[in-house]
Protein backbone atom coordinates (compact mmCIF):
# COMPACT_ATOMS: atom_id res chain seq x y z
CA UNK A 1 0.00 0.00 0.00
CA UNK A 2 2.75 2.41 0.94
CA UNK A 3 4.64 1.36 -2.17
CA UNK A 4 1.54 2.14 -4.22
CA UNK A 5 1.29 5.54 -2.57
CA UNK A 6 4.87 6.24 -3.55
CA UNK A 7 4.32 5.04 -7.12
CA UNK A 8 1.23 7.15 -7.64
CA UNK A 9 2.95 10.20 -6.14
CA UNK A 10 5.84 9.79 -8.58
CA UNK A 11 3.42 9.50 -11.50
CA UNK A 12 1.55 12.60 -10.34
CA UNK A 13 4.78 14.58 -10.01
CA UNK A 14 6.16 13.56 -13.37
CA UNK A 15 2.90 14.24 -15.14
CA UNK A 16 3.09 17.80 -13.84
CA UNK A 17 6.66 18.18 -15.08
CA UNK A 18 6.00 18.25 -18.80
CA UNK A 19 9.56 19.25 -19.60
CA UNK A 20 11.06 16.22 -17.93
CA UNK A 21 8.60 13.97 -19.67
CA UNK A 22 9.32 15.50 -23.05
CA UNK A 23 13.00 15.09 -22.46
CA UNK A 24 12.63 11.52 -21.31
CA UNK A 25 10.74 10.54 -24.45
CA UNK A 26 12.01 12.92 -27.12
CA UNK A 27 15.67 13.62 -26.32
CA UNK A 28 16.83 10.05 -27.10
CA UNK A 29 15.17 10.36 -30.50
CA UNK A 30 16.99 13.61 -31.17
CA UNK A 31 20.36 12.16 -30.25
CA UNK A 32 19.71 8.94 -32.17
CA UNK A 33 18.68 10.90 -35.26
CA UNK A 34 21.87 12.93 -35.12
CA UNK A 35 23.93 9.77 -34.74
CA UNK A 36 22.07 8.19 -37.65
CA UNK A 37 22.99 11.05 -39.94
CA UNK A 38 26.55 11.15 -38.74
CA UNK A 39 27.40 7.49 -38.96
CA UNK A 40 25.29 6.84 -42.01
CA UNK A 41 27.05 9.52 -44.03
CA UNK A 42 29.34 8.13 -46.71
CA UNK A 43 32.99 8.94 -46.49
CA UNK A 44 33.78 11.45 -49.20
CA UNK A 45 36.22 10.47 -52.00
CA UNK A 46 39.92 10.60 -51.27
CA UNK A 47 41.51 13.51 -53.07
CA UNK A 48 44.92 13.13 -54.69
CA UNK A 49 47.00 15.64 -56.62
CA UNK A 50 49.51 14.36 -59.18
CA UNK A 51 52.42 16.25 -60.71
CA UNK A 52 55.06 15.05 -63.23
CA UNK A 53 54.45 11.34 -62.80
CA UNK A 54 54.71 9.07 -65.84
CA UNK A 55 51.61 8.45 -67.91
CA UNK A 56 51.30 4.82 -66.98
CA UNK A 57 50.78 5.73 -63.36
CA UNK A 58 48.27 8.45 -64.27
CA UNK A 59 46.26 6.02 -66.37
CA UNK A 60 46.11 3.64 -63.46
CA UNK A 61 45.08 6.35 -61.04
CA UNK A 62 42.33 7.57 -63.38
CA UNK A 63 40.77 4.15 -63.22
CA UNK A 64 40.98 4.00 -59.43
CA UNK A 65 38.56 5.38 -56.84
CA UNK A 66 40.72 8.46 -56.25
CA UNK A 67 39.42 11.91 -57.00
CA UNK A 68 42.43 12.90 -59.11
CA UNK A 69 43.54 16.37 -60.11
CA UNK A 70 46.55 16.89 -62.35
CA UNK A 71 48.65 20.00 -61.87
CA UNK A 72 51.78 21.36 -63.55
CA UNK A 73 53.23 22.60 -60.31
CA UNK A 74 52.02 22.19 -56.80
CA UNK A 75 53.16 22.93 -53.26
CA UNK A 76 52.50 21.91 -49.68
CA UNK A 77 50.94 25.32 -49.07
CA UNK A 78 48.38 24.77 -51.80
CA UNK A 79 47.76 21.32 -50.43
CA UNK A 80 46.90 22.53 -46.91
CA UNK A 81 44.76 25.28 -48.31
CA UNK A 82 42.75 23.00 -50.58
CA UNK A 83 42.71 20.25 -47.98
CA UNK A 84 43.92 17.56 -50.40
CA UNK A 85 44.44 14.20 -48.80
CA UNK A 86 47.56 13.41 -50.76
CA UNK A 87 50.04 14.71 -53.36
CA UNK A 88 51.99 12.28 -55.54
CA UNK A 89 55.09 13.70 -57.15
CA UNK A 90 58.65 12.93 -58.24
CA UNK A 91 61.65 14.07 -56.34
CA UNK A 92 65.09 13.13 -57.63
CA UNK A 93 63.68 10.15 -59.55
CA UNK A 94 61.82 8.85 -56.57
CA UNK A 95 58.09 8.75 -56.14
CA UNK A 96 57.04 10.81 -53.14
CA UNK A 97 53.60 10.73 -51.51
CA UNK A 98 52.83 13.71 -49.29
CA UNK A 99 49.94 13.12 -46.97
CA UNK A 100 47.98 15.94 -45.31
CA UNK A 101 47.17 13.61 -42.41
CA UNK A 102 44.63 15.93 -40.77
CA UNK A 103 42.65 12.73 -40.28
CA UNK A 104 44.92 9.71 -39.83
CA UNK A 105 42.20 7.34 -41.03
CA UNK A 106 42.12 9.05 -44.42
CA UNK A 107 45.91 8.90 -44.73
CA UNK A 108 45.73 5.18 -44.10
CA UNK A 109 43.07 4.81 -46.78
CA UNK A 110 45.17 6.75 -49.30
CA UNK A 111 48.13 4.44 -48.71
CA UNK A 112 46.05 1.28 -49.01
CA UNK A 113 44.22 2.43 -52.15
CA UNK A 114 47.45 3.52 -53.78
CA UNK A 115 49.10 0.17 -53.06
CA UNK A 116 46.06 -1.63 -54.48
CA UNK A 117 46.04 0.50 -57.61
CA UNK A 118 49.73 -0.19 -58.28
CA UNK A 119 49.22 -3.89 -57.61
CA UNK A 120 46.41 -4.14 -60.13
CA UNK A 121 48.47 -2.29 -62.68
CA UNK A 122 51.40 -4.50 -61.82
CA UNK A 123 53.78 -1.64 -61.48
CA UNK A 124 56.45 -3.90 -60.17
CA UNK A 125 59.07 -1.70 -61.67
CA UNK A 126 58.00 0.94 -59.27
CA UNK A 127 59.50 -0.25 -56.06
CA UNK A 128 59.16 2.16 -53.21
CA UNK A 129 57.18 5.28 -52.48
CA UNK A 130 58.57 7.72 -49.95
CA UNK A 131 55.83 8.96 -47.69
CA UNK A 132 55.90 12.39 -46.09
CA UNK A 133 53.45 13.87 -43.67
CA UNK A 134 52.27 17.47 -43.51
CA UNK A 135 50.74 17.14 -40.04
CA UNK A 136 51.86 14.59 -37.49
CA UNK A 137 53.67 11.45 -38.65
CA UNK A 138 53.26 7.73 -39.21
CA UNK A 139 52.69 7.34 -35.49
CA UNK A 140 49.74 9.72 -35.39
CA UNK A 141 46.86 8.12 -33.56
CA UNK A 142 43.18 8.97 -33.77
CA UNK A 143 43.43 10.16 -30.19
CA UNK A 144 45.93 12.85 -31.17
CA UNK A 145 43.30 14.36 -33.41
CA UNK A 146 40.45 14.53 -31.02
CA UNK A 147 42.24 15.01 -27.74
CA UNK A 148 42.51 18.79 -28.37
CA UNK A 149 38.76 18.83 -28.88
CA UNK A 150 38.24 16.81 -25.70
CA UNK A 151 40.16 19.39 -23.71
CA UNK A 152 37.81 22.08 -24.96
CA UNK A 153 34.80 19.87 -24.43
CA UNK A 154 35.50 19.22 -20.75
CA UNK A 155 36.17 22.86 -20.04
CA UNK A 156 32.86 23.70 -21.71
CA UNK A 157 30.90 20.94 -20.01
CA UNK A 158 31.92 21.59 -16.42
CA UNK A 159 31.84 25.36 -16.58
CA UNK A 160 28.40 25.22 -18.23
CA UNK A 161 26.95 23.02 -15.50
CA UNK A 162 28.58 24.66 -12.51
CA UNK A 163 27.85 28.25 -13.51
CA UNK A 164 24.31 27.35 -14.53
CA UNK A 165 23.55 25.62 -11.25
CA UNK A 166 25.13 28.44 -9.24
CA UNK A 167 22.87 31.09 -10.75
CA UNK A 168 19.93 28.73 -10.54
CA UNK A 169 20.53 28.39 -6.79
CA UNK A 170 20.58 32.13 -6.53
CA UNK A 171 17.22 32.26 -8.26
CA UNK A 172 15.54 29.50 -6.28
CA UNK A 173 16.84 30.61 -2.87
CA UNK A 174 15.47 34.10 -3.45
CA UNK A 175 18.85 35.76 -3.07
CA UNK A 176 18.76 36.97 -6.66
CA UNK A 177 15.52 38.78 -5.95
CA UNK A 178 16.99 40.16 -2.73
CA UNK A 179 20.07 41.25 -4.64
CA UNK A 180 17.92 43.13 -7.11
CA UNK A 181 16.26 45.03 -4.27
CA UNK A 182 19.63 46.74 -3.75
CA UNK A 183 20.99 49.42 -6.09
CA UNK A 184 23.10 46.85 -7.97
CA UNK A 185 22.75 47.11 -11.74
CA UNK A 186 21.84 44.12 -13.85
CA UNK A 187 25.05 44.30 -15.86
CA UNK A 188 27.00 44.34 -12.61
CA UNK A 189 25.47 41.04 -11.56
CA UNK A 190 26.26 39.40 -14.88
CA UNK A 191 29.79 40.83 -15.00
CA UNK A 192 30.39 39.73 -11.43
CA UNK A 193 29.28 36.25 -12.29
CA UNK A 194 31.38 36.06 -15.43
CA UNK A 195 34.53 37.26 -13.67
CA UNK A 196 33.94 35.39 -10.40
CA UNK A 197 33.30 32.03 -12.02
CA UNK A 198 35.65 32.93 -14.85
CA UNK A 199 38.53 32.88 -12.34
CA UNK A 200 37.75 29.31 -11.38
CA UNK A 201 37.21 28.36 -15.00
CA UNK A 202 40.64 29.81 -15.74
CA UNK A 203 42.29 27.70 -13.05
CA UNK A 204 40.46 24.62 -14.31
CA UNK A 205 41.58 25.36 -17.86
CA UNK A 206 45.21 25.73 -16.82
CA UNK A 207 45.13 22.45 -14.90
CA UNK A 208 43.43 20.55 -17.74
CA UNK A 209 45.77 21.90 -20.42
CA UNK A 210 48.98 21.38 -18.43
CA UNK A 211 47.95 17.87 -17.44
CA UNK A 212 46.98 16.88 -20.99
CA UNK A 213 50.19 18.17 -22.48
CA UNK A 214 52.71 17.21 -19.81
CA UNK A 215 51.30 14.07 -18.26
CA UNK A 216 49.21 12.54 -21.03
CA UNK A 217 51.62 13.74 -23.72
CA UNK A 218 48.88 14.96 -25.99
CA UNK A 219 50.53 16.49 -29.05
CA UNK A 220 51.12 20.20 -28.82
CA UNK A 221 52.66 21.66 -31.95
CA UNK A 222 51.66 25.26 -31.37
CA UNK A 223 51.87 27.59 -28.42
CA UNK A 224 50.43 26.59 -25.07
CA UNK A 225 49.38 30.23 -24.56
CA UNK A 226 47.12 30.00 -27.56
CA UNK A 227 45.60 26.81 -26.17
CA UNK A 228 44.93 28.63 -22.91
CA UNK A 229 43.47 31.61 -24.74
CA UNK A 230 41.07 29.42 -26.73
CA UNK A 231 39.97 27.55 -23.63
CA UNK A 232 39.41 30.74 -21.68
CA UNK A 233 37.08 31.90 -24.42
CA UNK A 234 35.39 28.50 -24.38
CA UNK A 235 34.93 28.88 -20.62
CA UNK A 236 33.34 32.31 -21.08
CA UNK A 237 30.94 31.00 -23.70
CA UNK A 238 30.01 28.05 -21.46
CA UNK A 239 29.64 30.30 -18.44
CA UNK A 240 27.37 32.79 -20.14
CA UNK A 241 25.33 30.10 -21.89
CA UNK A 242 24.97 28.14 -18.64
CA UNK A 243 23.74 31.12 -16.66
CA UNK A 244 21.41 32.11 -19.50
CA UNK A 245 19.83 28.67 -19.79
CA UNK A 246 19.50 28.42 -16.02
CA UNK A 247 16.69 30.97 -16.29
CA UNK A 248 14.73 28.35 -18.21
CA UNK A 249 15.26 25.73 -15.52
CA UNK A 250 13.42 25.59 -12.23
CA UNK A 251 15.60 22.96 -10.56
CA UNK A 252 19.03 21.39 -10.79
CA UNK A 253 17.27 18.43 -12.30
CA UNK A 254 16.04 20.55 -15.18
CA UNK A 255 19.52 22.06 -15.57
CA UNK A 256 21.00 18.61 -16.08
CA UNK A 257 18.39 18.05 -18.76
CA UNK A 258 20.16 20.57 -20.95
CA UNK A 259 23.05 18.14 -21.39
CA UNK A 260 21.44 16.05 -24.15
CA UNK A 261 20.05 19.18 -25.79
CA UNK A 262 23.03 21.49 -25.61
CA UNK A 263 26.14 19.42 -24.96
CA UNK A 264 25.67 16.15 -26.85
CA UNK A 265 24.86 17.64 -30.28
CA UNK A 266 27.94 19.83 -30.02
CA UNK A 267 30.11 16.75 -29.53
CA UNK A 268 28.86 15.28 -32.79
CA UNK A 269 29.84 18.35 -34.74
CA UNK A 270 33.12 19.11 -33.07
CA UNK A 271 35.41 16.95 -35.14
CA UNK A 272 35.45 13.59 -33.38
CA UNK A 273 33.33 12.27 -36.20
CA UNK A 274 34.07 13.24 -39.80
CA UNK A 275 31.36 15.56 -41.01
CA UNK A 276 32.57 16.09 -44.58
CA UNK A 277 30.37 13.30 -45.86
CA UNK A 278 27.23 14.62 -44.16
CA UNK A 279 24.37 16.36 -45.88
CA UNK A 280 25.15 20.01 -46.50
CA UNK A 281 22.37 21.34 -44.24
CA UNK A 282 23.64 19.16 -41.44
CA UNK A 283 27.15 20.49 -41.84
CA UNK A 284 25.78 24.01 -41.64
CA UNK A 285 24.13 23.10 -38.35
CA UNK A 286 27.55 22.63 -36.82
CA UNK A 287 28.35 26.26 -37.54
CA UNK A 288 25.91 27.54 -34.93
CA UNK A 289 27.69 25.57 -32.23
CA UNK A 290 30.45 27.17 -30.16
CA UNK A 291 32.35 23.90 -29.76
CA UNK A 292 32.67 23.60 -33.54
CA UNK A 293 34.87 26.70 -33.58
CA UNK A 294 36.61 25.79 -30.36
CA UNK A 295 37.68 22.39 -31.60
CA UNK A 296 38.68 23.78 -34.97
CA UNK A 297 40.99 26.24 -33.23
CA UNK A 298 42.28 23.76 -30.67
CA UNK A 299 42.94 21.10 -33.28
CA UNK A 300 44.69 23.72 -35.39
CA UNK A 301 46.99 24.88 -32.62
CA UNK A 302 47.69 21.59 -30.89
CA UNK A 303 47.97 19.26 -33.87
CA UNK A 304 48.70 21.42 -36.87
CA UNK A 305 50.82 24.03 -35.14
CA UNK A 306 48.65 26.97 -36.19
CA UNK A 307 49.58 30.45 -35.01
CA UNK A 308 47.36 33.28 -33.80
CA UNK A 309 46.61 34.59 -37.28
CA UNK A 310 45.38 31.15 -38.40
CA UNK A 311 42.75 30.94 -35.69
CA UNK A 312 41.68 34.59 -35.47
CA UNK A 313 38.34 33.84 -37.09
CA UNK A 314 37.52 31.03 -34.64
CA UNK A 315 38.48 33.24 -31.69
CA UNK A 316 36.31 36.07 -32.97
CA UNK A 317 33.31 33.80 -33.37
CA UNK A 318 33.77 32.46 -29.83
CA UNK A 319 34.04 36.00 -28.53
CA UNK A 320 30.82 36.93 -30.32
CA UNK A 321 29.03 33.95 -28.78
CA UNK A 322 30.16 35.04 -25.30
CA UNK A 323 29.16 38.69 -25.85
CA UNK A 324 25.74 37.78 -27.21
CA UNK A 325 25.05 35.37 -24.35
CA UNK A 326 26.16 37.94 -21.77
CA UNK A 327 23.84 40.56 -23.24
CA UNK A 328 20.97 38.08 -23.25
CA UNK A 329 21.73 37.36 -19.59
CA UNK A 330 21.42 41.03 -18.73
CA UNK A 331 18.14 41.23 -20.62
CA UNK A 332 16.75 38.10 -18.98
CA UNK A 333 17.27 39.59 -15.52
CA UNK A 334 14.58 42.13 -16.40
CA UNK A 335 12.17 39.45 -15.33
CA UNK A 336 13.19 40.19 -11.74
CA UNK A 337 13.45 43.94 -11.82
CA UNK A 338 12.28 46.25 -14.53
CA UNK A 339 15.20 48.67 -14.16
Amino acid sequence: MRILALISRIIQQLRKDKRTLALLFVAPLLVLTLMYFIFDSEASDLTLVVTDVNNRVIELLDESDFDISKEETYSIEQMTEEKMDGWLHMEEDELVLSLLNDQPSRSGSVKVLLAQTFNVGNVAANPSINTEYVYGDEETKIFDIFSPMLVGFFVFFFVFLIAGIALLNERTSGTLERLLATPIKRFEIVTGYVIGYGLFALIQTIIVVLYSVNVLNIVLEGSIWLVLLINILVAFVALSLGTLLSSFASSEFQMVQFIPLVIVPQVFFSGIFPIEGMAEWLQQLGKIMPLYYASDALNGVMYKGFTFSDITFDLLVLLCFAVVFIILNIVSLKKYRSI
Binding site: T175, R178, Y336
Partner: protein, 239 residues
Protein backbone atom coordinates in the same frame (compact mmCIF):
# COMPACT_ATOMS: atom_id res chain seq x y z
CA UNK B 1 3.63 64.09 4.76
CA UNK B 2 3.09 60.98 2.68
CA UNK B 3 6.25 59.13 1.71
CA UNK B 4 4.51 56.42 -0.29
CA UNK B 5 1.63 57.14 -2.65
CA UNK B 6 -0.26 54.58 -4.67
CA UNK B 7 -2.73 55.90 -7.23
CA UNK B 8 -5.13 53.40 -8.83
CA UNK B 9 -2.46 50.74 -8.85
CA UNK B 10 -3.38 47.37 -10.30
CA UNK B 11 -1.48 44.25 -11.20
CA UNK B 12 -2.45 40.93 -12.70
CA UNK B 13 -0.62 37.73 -13.43
CA UNK B 14 -1.85 35.58 -16.28
CA UNK B 15 -5.14 37.49 -16.42
CA UNK B 16 -5.81 36.93 -12.73
CA UNK B 17 -6.19 40.18 -10.81
CA UNK B 18 -3.76 40.03 -7.91
CA UNK B 19 -4.11 43.68 -7.04
CA UNK B 20 -7.37 45.34 -7.94
CA UNK B 21 -7.14 49.11 -8.51
CA UNK B 22 -5.83 50.43 -5.22
CA UNK B 23 -5.17 53.91 -3.90
CA UNK B 24 -3.17 54.18 -0.72
CA UNK B 25 -1.10 56.79 1.11
CA UNK B 26 1.51 55.98 3.71
CA UNK B 27 2.59 58.71 6.09
CA UNK B 28 6.16 59.19 7.16
CA UNK B 29 7.43 58.22 10.61
CA UNK B 30 4.63 55.73 11.07
CA UNK B 31 4.39 51.99 11.35
CA UNK B 32 1.99 51.02 8.62
CA UNK B 33 0.50 47.54 8.78
CA UNK B 34 -0.79 45.63 5.79
CA UNK B 35 -3.10 43.05 7.20
CA UNK B 36 -4.72 40.15 5.45
CA UNK B 37 -4.87 36.41 4.99
CA UNK B 38 -2.21 34.55 3.04
CA UNK B 39 -2.56 34.99 -0.68
CA UNK B 40 -4.48 38.26 -0.50
CA UNK B 41 -1.81 40.17 -2.44
CA UNK B 42 0.22 41.73 0.36
CA UNK B 43 3.55 40.53 -1.00
CA UNK B 44 2.66 41.62 -4.53
CA UNK B 45 1.74 45.08 -3.30
CA UNK B 46 5.04 45.32 -1.45
CA UNK B 47 7.05 44.20 -4.47
CA UNK B 48 5.30 46.88 -6.51
CA UNK B 49 6.34 49.52 -3.97
CA UNK B 50 9.95 48.32 -3.92
CA UNK B 51 9.95 48.35 -7.73
CA UNK B 52 10.60 44.68 -8.27
CA UNK B 53 7.33 44.31 -10.13
CA UNK B 54 5.90 46.71 -12.65
CA UNK B 55 2.41 48.10 -12.24
CA UNK B 56 -0.09 47.34 -14.99
CA UNK B 57 -1.80 50.64 -14.48
CA UNK B 58 -1.68 53.49 -11.98
CA UNK B 59 1.31 55.16 -10.44
CA UNK B 60 3.46 54.69 -7.37
CA UNK B 61 5.67 57.39 -5.95
CA UNK B 62 8.08 56.93 -3.07
CA UNK B 63 9.74 59.99 -1.47
CA UNK B 64 8.41 62.02 -4.36
CA UNK B 65 10.03 59.87 -7.03
CA UNK B 66 8.19 57.64 -9.41
CA UNK B 67 8.78 53.90 -8.98
CA UNK B 68 10.77 52.16 -10.40
CA UNK B 69 13.77 54.32 -9.74
CA UNK B 70 17.26 53.03 -9.08
CA UNK B 71 18.09 55.73 -6.52
CA UNK B 72 15.09 54.69 -4.42
CA UNK B 73 16.53 51.24 -3.82
CA UNK B 74 19.04 52.85 -1.49
CA UNK B 75 16.26 54.41 0.58
CA UNK B 76 14.24 51.23 0.98
CA UNK B 77 15.33 48.45 3.28
CA UNK B 78 13.54 45.35 2.09
CA UNK B 79 13.05 42.11 3.95
CA UNK B 80 11.54 39.38 1.83
CA UNK B 81 9.11 36.79 3.06
CA UNK B 82 11.55 33.94 2.50
CA UNK B 83 15.00 34.19 3.97
CA UNK B 84 17.21 35.02 1.03
CA UNK B 85 20.58 34.28 2.55
CA UNK B 86 23.81 32.69 1.37
CA UNK B 87 23.85 29.66 3.63
CA UNK B 88 27.49 28.73 2.92
CA UNK B 89 28.63 32.10 4.27
CA UNK B 90 28.65 33.29 7.87
CA UNK B 91 26.21 35.89 9.12
CA UNK B 92 28.96 38.48 9.01
CA UNK B 93 29.91 37.61 5.42
CA UNK B 94 26.27 37.98 4.39
CA UNK B 95 26.05 41.40 6.00
CA UNK B 96 29.42 42.41 4.59
CA UNK B 97 28.30 41.44 1.07
CA UNK B 98 25.15 43.54 1.20
CA UNK B 99 27.01 46.43 2.85
CA UNK B 100 29.46 46.37 -0.06
CA UNK B 101 26.60 46.55 -2.55
CA UNK B 102 25.63 49.86 -0.99
CA UNK B 103 29.17 51.13 -1.40
CA UNK B 104 30.14 51.63 2.24
CA UNK B 105 33.81 52.08 3.07
CA UNK B 106 35.58 49.49 5.19
CA UNK B 107 35.18 51.33 8.48
CA UNK B 108 31.57 52.27 7.71
CA UNK B 109 30.86 48.64 6.96
CA UNK B 110 32.23 47.59 10.29
CA UNK B 111 29.99 50.10 12.07
CA UNK B 112 26.92 49.21 10.06
CA UNK B 113 27.38 45.46 10.59
CA UNK B 114 27.83 45.98 14.32
CA UNK B 115 24.78 48.23 14.50
CA UNK B 116 22.53 45.90 12.50
CA UNK B 117 23.69 42.75 14.25
CA UNK B 118 23.19 44.39 17.61
CA UNK B 119 19.58 45.33 16.89
CA UNK B 120 18.63 41.76 16.06
CA UNK B 121 20.88 40.32 18.79
CA UNK B 122 23.04 38.31 16.43
CA UNK B 123 26.44 39.70 17.42
CA UNK B 124 27.40 36.42 19.10
CA UNK B 125 26.50 34.31 16.05
CA UNK B 126 28.14 36.45 13.37
CA UNK B 127 31.04 34.07 12.77
CA UNK B 128 28.80 31.02 12.36
CA UNK B 129 27.74 29.79 8.89
CA UNK B 130 24.10 30.59 8.17
CA UNK B 131 23.46 26.92 7.36
CA UNK B 132 23.58 26.17 11.08
CA UNK B 133 21.28 29.04 12.07
CA UNK B 134 17.81 28.32 13.45
CA UNK B 135 14.75 29.60 11.60
CA UNK B 136 14.43 32.57 13.95
CA UNK B 137 18.09 33.49 13.57
CA UNK B 138 17.72 33.52 9.81
CA UNK B 139 14.73 35.88 10.06
CA UNK B 140 16.77 38.16 12.30
CA UNK B 141 19.69 38.15 9.91
CA UNK B 142 17.31 39.05 7.07
CA UNK B 143 16.07 41.97 9.14
CA UNK B 144 19.64 43.05 9.86
CA UNK B 145 20.35 43.03 6.11
CA UNK B 146 17.32 45.26 5.54
CA UNK B 147 18.76 47.72 8.05
CA UNK B 148 22.31 47.67 6.74
CA UNK B 149 22.16 50.76 4.52
CA UNK B 150 20.28 52.86 7.10
CA UNK B 151 17.29 53.37 4.81
CA UNK B 152 14.55 55.94 5.36
CA UNK B 153 11.88 53.36 4.68
CA UNK B 154 11.75 49.79 5.93
CA UNK B 155 9.52 47.37 4.10
CA UNK B 156 9.20 44.12 5.96
CA UNK B 157 7.28 41.16 4.61
CA UNK B 158 6.09 39.09 7.57
CA UNK B 159 9.19 39.78 9.66
CA UNK B 160 8.11 37.93 12.77
CA UNK B 161 7.09 34.59 11.31
CA UNK B 162 8.84 31.77 13.16
CA UNK B 163 10.23 34.01 15.87
CA UNK B 164 9.57 33.28 19.54
CA UNK B 165 7.40 35.74 21.55
CA UNK B 166 10.34 37.17 23.50
CA UNK B 167 12.30 38.04 20.40
CA UNK B 168 9.16 39.23 18.66
CA UNK B 169 8.67 41.72 21.47
CA UNK B 170 12.22 42.94 21.22
CA UNK B 171 11.95 43.34 17.46
CA UNK B 172 8.76 45.35 17.87
CA UNK B 173 10.43 47.52 20.51
CA UNK B 174 13.25 48.11 18.05
CA UNK B 175 10.84 48.97 15.23
CA UNK B 176 9.16 51.52 17.49
CA UNK B 177 12.54 52.94 18.46
CA UNK B 178 13.55 53.17 14.79
CA UNK B 179 10.35 55.05 14.09
CA UNK B 180 10.57 57.41 17.08
CA UNK B 181 14.27 58.10 17.31
CA UNK B 182 15.50 57.59 13.76
CA UNK B 183 12.41 58.89 11.94
CA UNK B 184 11.95 55.79 9.85
CA UNK B 185 8.80 54.88 8.01
CA UNK B 186 8.00 51.21 8.41
CA UNK B 187 5.68 49.16 6.24
CA UNK B 188 4.99 45.73 7.61
CA UNK B 189 2.81 42.87 6.41
CA UNK B 190 1.34 40.38 8.77
CA UNK B 191 -1.48 37.95 9.14
CA UNK B 192 -1.04 37.82 12.90
CA UNK B 193 -3.82 39.92 14.37
CA UNK B 194 -2.14 40.85 17.66
CA UNK B 195 0.61 42.59 15.72
CA UNK B 196 -2.01 44.74 14.06
CA UNK B 197 -2.66 46.45 17.38
CA UNK B 198 0.89 47.73 17.46
CA UNK B 199 0.71 49.51 14.11
CA UNK B 200 -0.07 53.23 13.89
CA UNK B 201 -2.16 52.78 10.82
CA UNK B 202 -3.66 49.74 9.17
CA UNK B 203 -4.85 48.66 5.78
CA UNK B 204 -6.78 45.43 5.58
CA UNK B 205 -6.64 43.46 2.37
CA UNK B 206 -8.68 40.69 0.92
CA UNK B 207 -8.53 39.17 -2.56
CA UNK B 208 -6.31 41.96 -3.84
CA UNK B 209 -8.53 44.71 -2.54
CA UNK B 210 -8.23 47.14 0.35
CA UNK B 211 -11.33 46.59 2.38
CA UNK B 212 -10.69 48.95 5.27
CA UNK B 213 -8.10 51.49 6.41
CA UNK B 214 -7.63 53.43 9.60
CA UNK B 215 -6.04 53.47 13.02
CA UNK B 216 -6.41 50.25 15.02
CA UNK B 217 -8.79 51.81 17.56
CA UNK B 218 -10.88 53.38 14.80
CA UNK B 219 -11.23 50.11 12.99
CA UNK B 220 -12.22 48.28 16.14
CA UNK B 221 -14.79 50.95 17.03
CA UNK B 222 -16.11 51.05 13.50
CA UNK B 223 -16.77 47.33 13.50
CA UNK B 224 -17.69 47.20 17.13
CA UNK B 225 -15.15 44.51 17.86
CA UNK B 226 -12.89 43.58 20.78
CA UNK B 227 -9.90 42.52 18.75
CA UNK B 228 -8.73 42.21 15.19
CA UNK B 229 -9.79 38.63 14.75
CA UNK B 230 -13.30 39.91 15.17
CA UNK B 231 -12.79 42.88 12.89
CA UNK B 232 -11.49 40.58 10.25
CA UNK B 233 -14.31 38.14 10.55
CA UNK B 234 -16.87 40.93 10.41
CA UNK B 235 -15.32 42.46 7.33
CA UNK B 236 -15.18 39.02 5.79
CA UNK B 237 -18.94 39.02 6.24
CA UNK B 238 -20.43 35.74 5.30
CA UNK B 239 -17.27 33.77 6.09
Amino acid sequence: MNVINLQHVSKSFKKRHVIKPTTLFIEEKKIFGLLGPSGCGKTTLIKLIVGMLKVDSGEITVLGKQVPNASLLREIGYMAQSDALYSELTGEQNLEFFAKLFGFSKSERKDRIQYAANIVQLTEALKVPVSSYSGGMKRRLSLAIALIQNPKILILDEPTVGIDPLLKKSIWNELERLKDEEDKTIVITTHVMDEAEKCDYLAMMRDGELIATGEPTELKAQYNAQNFDEVFLKIGGDL
